[in-house]
Amino acid sequence: MSIDSLDPDDVDAADILGSAIERREDPSLLTGDAEYTDDIQLPEMLHMTILRSQHGHAEIEDVDTSAAEEMDGVVAVYTHDDVADESVSRDGSLLIPTGWLLDSLRQVDHPVLAKDRVRYQGDAIAVVVAEDRYVAHDATDAIDVSYDRLDASADPEAALDGEAGQLHDDAEGNVAFDWEIGDEERTEEAFDDAAHTVSLDLENQLLIANAMEPRAAVADYHPGSDELDVFMTSQNPHLHRLLMSGVIGHPEHKLRVKAPDVGGGFGCKIHHYADEALVALVTRDLERPVKWTSTRTEGYKTDAPGRGHVTTAELAMDDDANITGLRVDTKANLGAYLSTFAPAVPTYLYGTLLSGQYDIPAIHASVTGAYTNVPPVDAYRGAGRPEASFLVERLASLGAREAGVDPAEFRQKNFVSDDDFPYQTQVAVEYDSGEYGKPMEKALEAVDYDAFRERQEEAREEGRYLGIGFSCYIEACGLAPSELAGQLGAQAGLWESSLVRFHPGGTVTAFCGTSGHGQGHGTTYAQIVANELGIPYEDVEVVEGDTDEIPQGMGTYGSRSAAVGGSALVKSSQKLVEKAREIAAHQLEADPADVEFAGGEFTVSGTDRSLGIAEIAQQSYLAHDMPDDMEPGLEATSFYDPDNFVFPFGTHVAIVEVDPESGEIEFEKYVAVDDVGNQINPKIVEGQIHGGVAQGIGQALYEGAVYDGNAQLLTGSMQDYAVPKSLHIPDMETESTVTPCPHNPLGVKGVGEAGTIAAPQAVVNAVTDALQPFGVDTVEMPMTAERVWSAVNGQATADGGDEGETDANADSDAAAETGGER
C-alpha cells in the first residue's frame, strides 16, 4: 500500500500539519536547476587533488614533487611541511580533532597531511593545485613517494592482538578506549541462575555510506576582508565551521560554511575531514577560489565507514522463557585516527540500546575501541543503534528457539509493557513512550502469521524453504539534552536553534540550524511553521545550511531534525506569536490575556474584534502604534534543548525463500510497521522508511568493505562494492502506529534511520528460519549465496565468514548431521 501525495492547494490550512503534501524541493531537483557543490564555478577557480597513501601502513621515506611542479598548468604542490609553514597555517593546529572524549580515550594526532607515516590506504600525503581538474590528477600521479611498508590490519581483533604492529605511540596495543555499561555482577548472577542460555559470535561488517554525491568543497578567500567562504557537502555547516576554524586558524566570524544542495549524506558528511581543511588552507594561501571533488574510488578510501564490530553476546532466560540477562563483549573498529563522533558511536549510541524493546533485568556490555589500518570509522545511518538492535534481535530469535517458544510469542512476552513507560533500562536510558505490542500485532496480521507457518510446513515437504524473520527494533534519536551529552564526553551542545522572521509584507522566512540533504525539510518545516502561525503554507520559506544566514545550529544527523529542529521552530513561532499578541492587544485596546490566537487571527474574547497576524507583522514594522517600550519588528530566535532522547520503535518482518542448492535468497514479502510518533508528512515518512530498509537489506545481503591482510581495500569501486540496484530491493508494505513523544511540542520521534536499524536482522532471522531443517542458526552478513550455501553444506567459506556458533545449534542434531556447527 502506498500513501497518495497531496497538492498543498487542496489541503485546508488547519490540516497542513500531518498532510502528505508533495515536496516543494522537487521542482529544482527535477529540472537540473539544483546546485550541488561540484556545480559551482567561480571566476579564476583552481582545482585541487590529493595524493593518498597506496598502502595500509608505511613510513614515508621521501616525497618527490618536482615532476608535478614542473607540469604546465600546475600552480602549487603542498606536502606536510608546506602546510605547516606559518604563512599557510597561521595559528592552526593542522590536526583533525575528535568531538567526543571518553574517560579512557587515548587520543592520537591526525594531521591534515601525513608527516612521516601513513596509517591507512587513502591517508593524505600531498596536495596539487592546478588550472584544470585533469591536469591536477596528472600531476598527482607524477608525485613519487618512497615508502617503507609496515605490518597492517583492517581487523580490530588482529590489531588488538598486535598483528598490525603499533599504529600510534600514544595508544599502547592499539587500544583507543575500554568502556563498559551495566551491572557486571548482577548479569553474572543472571547467567549462573539461568535455565537456558544462548551465545552468538557475530561480525557487524564495515559499511561504506555511498551517498550518491561524492564529497566536495569549493573555497573562496577574500583577502581584503579576510573572509573565507567554504561551500561543501555538509550535514552540519556550523559544526564544520567550528572544527575547521580551529584546524586552519581562521576566526569563526570570518569563516562561512554553506551547504548547497547536498546529494545524500547517511552520516558520511557529518564529520570533519582533512580534505575540506586543505581546500580552505590552499585558497587562503593562493588567494584564488579552489575546488576539490572526491572521485568515487577516492570516496571508498576516505569516506568514514560505519559499523565494524566483532562481538560475542549471550542471553540468559528462566524456565518460562523470560529474558533474565544479557552479556556483550565488542571489539569496535575505529580506523586509523579518531573521526568526529567516533568514540560515541560504539559506546553511548550502542551500549545504551542493548535492552531493545525488552524488559531485561541485568545487562552488562564491554566495548574495546581498536585503532586499525582503515579510514577513520564514524557514524553511518543508524550509528550504533543498528549494531545494538541487530544483536538483540538475533539473540531473541536464537533464545526463542533454545527455550522452545515461538519467536513472535517470545518477543511479545518479553516486551516492556505499556504500563511501564517511562521505562528505565539497565543501560542508562529512559524510554519516553511506547506500545511495543501494537506494531507487532499489525505486522503479524499483515503476514497472516499462523497461515504462514502452515504454508512453511507444506513447502518444506515439497523441498522449498520459506522463512520468516522478526525485528522488533528500538532507536534512540534526537540525542539530548546538552548537559547529559557533556557529561558523557560530547564536545558540543546538542540543542537546535531557529529564527522565525515575519517580513513586513506578511510572508515568513524560517531559518533552522539543521541542514537537510534529501529529507524534505523545506516542506516539513514550512508545514510546522504555517501551522503554528496560522498562515498559508505558501507564505513560509525555509532556509537551512548556511552559517552566514542562520544564527547557530548543530545540523542534521541521528534523526534529530524534526524532533529537535522542528521543536526549535515551534518555540520560535510561539515566541513570535506572544509578541504579536501584545501588539494586537494594544491595538485592539484589550488585555493580552483576553486576546485569543487561532487560525492566524487574534480575537478579543467574547467579541468579534480581531486582527490577522500578517497585519500585525506589517504594524510591527510601521511601528506607529506599538505598546510602550516594545521594539519594532516581528521575529524570534530560540535555542531548544530537549529533555530526553526520542525513542521510535517498530516491528519489521521479512518472508524469504532460500534455495539451498544455490544459496540464493528471494523476498516473498517485507512488512514494516513503524511508530515514529506524530507524523508531519506521512508521504515523506514512508519514503524515509523505504530508503532505510533498502540500506538495511543492502547490509544483510550485499554490502561490506573487504580488506586484505595488508589492509588494502578490495571493494574499492562501485564495481566491487555492491550498492543494491532496483532489482535487488523488493516492494515493501509500510504501516504505522502512532505513540506521540511526550516531551517535545510536536510529539514527533524520528524516522531517518529506522529502516536501516530494523531491516538486517529481519532478513537474517528469516534466512536462518528458512534453514532450520539444515540446522543453520547463523549466517554472517552479507549473506552472499556462497555463505548461505556453505552454511547449508557445512563448509567453510573462502573468507571464513560463517564462523558463528551458538549453544542452540550446538544442541541441534541436524547441525551435527550437516556439519553446520564447527
Binding site: Q41, M212, G263, T297, G663, H690, K725, M732, T784, V788
Partner: protein, 201 residues
C-alpha cells in the same frame, strides 16, 4: 594533449567547443557548457547519475569521450520540461515522491524516458530491470518504480508524445547505453555485470 573542435547540439541548441581528446562528455557538458544537471556519481558507468540521451538513446556520459559525441544531439534533464510544463516523468517523480536528495534523479529520468519510449507499458519487473544501471541510495527504488508507472499511464493516455516509435540504439562505439530494452538479453555491453553472490567475498 590534442585538441579537437567539436559540435554538440544540446537540448536543441548547437554549441561549438574545443576539447581535449580525453575530455569526458559529462565534463564537456558540465564544465564547458554549464549543463550541470547530469551528475557524476562514479567513474565506472555503474551509478548512472550522469545519464543523458545521445541521439535519442540513454548513455552514461561519464565514460563517453566528448569527441565521440561530435555532431550528435544530446538531451539532458534541462531539456525535459517544455515551455515550463513538466514532462510526464518529472510529474511522476514529483507525485510519487520518487526522489529525496535528487542527485540520481536526472539520470533516472533520462533512463526512464528512454525505457518508456521502447516499452510504453512496462511491468514493475520490467521497470526494475530497465533501471538497473541507475543507483539510488535514498528511495529504496519503490517510489521510483511508482513514478515510472505513473508516467507510463499519463503518456499512454495520449497526453504526450507518440509513445510507439522505437529509435535505433546508437552503435556500440558510442558509449555505454543504459536502459536497454527491457527483457532483452543484456544488450548493454558496457553495463557493469552484477556479481553473482558466489563471486563476492
Amino acid at each position: 594533449m590534442a585538441e579537437h573542435d567539436i559540435t554538440l547540439t544540446v537540448n536543441g541548441t548547437e554549441h561549438e567547443l574545443e576539447v581535449e581528446s580525453r575530455t569526458l562528455l559529462v565534463h564537456a557538458l558540465r564544465d564547458e557548457l554549464g549543463y550541470t544537471g547530469a551528475n557524476v556519481g562514479c567513474e565506472t558507468s555503474t551509478c548512472g547519475a550522469c545519464t543523458v540521451h545521445l541521439d535519442g538513446d540513454a548513455v552514461k556520459s561519464c565514460t563517453l569521450l566528448a569527441v565521440q559525441a561530435d555532431g550528435a544531439s544530446v538531451d539532458t534533464v534541462e531539456g525535459l520540461a517544455e515551455g515550463g510544463d513538466f514532462h510526464p516523468i518529472q510529474t511522476g517523480f514529483q507525485q510519487e515522491h520518487g526522489l529525496q536528495c535528487g542527485y540520481c534523479t536526472p539520470g533516472m529520468m533520462m533512463t526512464a524516458t528512454d525505457l518508456l519510449e521502447e516499452n510504453p507499458d512496462p511491468s514493475r519487473e520490467e521497470i526494475r530491470e530497465g533501471l538497473e544501471g541507475n543507483l539510488c541510495r535514498c528511495t529504496g527504488y519503490q517510489n521510483i518504480v511508482n513514478a515510472v508507472e505513473n508516467a507510463a499511464e499519463t503518456m499512454g493516455s495520449g497526453a504526450v508524445a507518440d509513445g510507439g516509435s522505437v529509435e535505433e540504439h546508437a552503435d556500440g562505439d558510442a558509449g555505454c547505453a543504459s536502459g536497454s530494452s527491457p527483457g532483452a538479453e543484456t544488450a548493454d555491453s558496457c553495463d557493469v555485470r552484477w556479481p553473482d553472490e558466489g563471486e563476492r567475498r
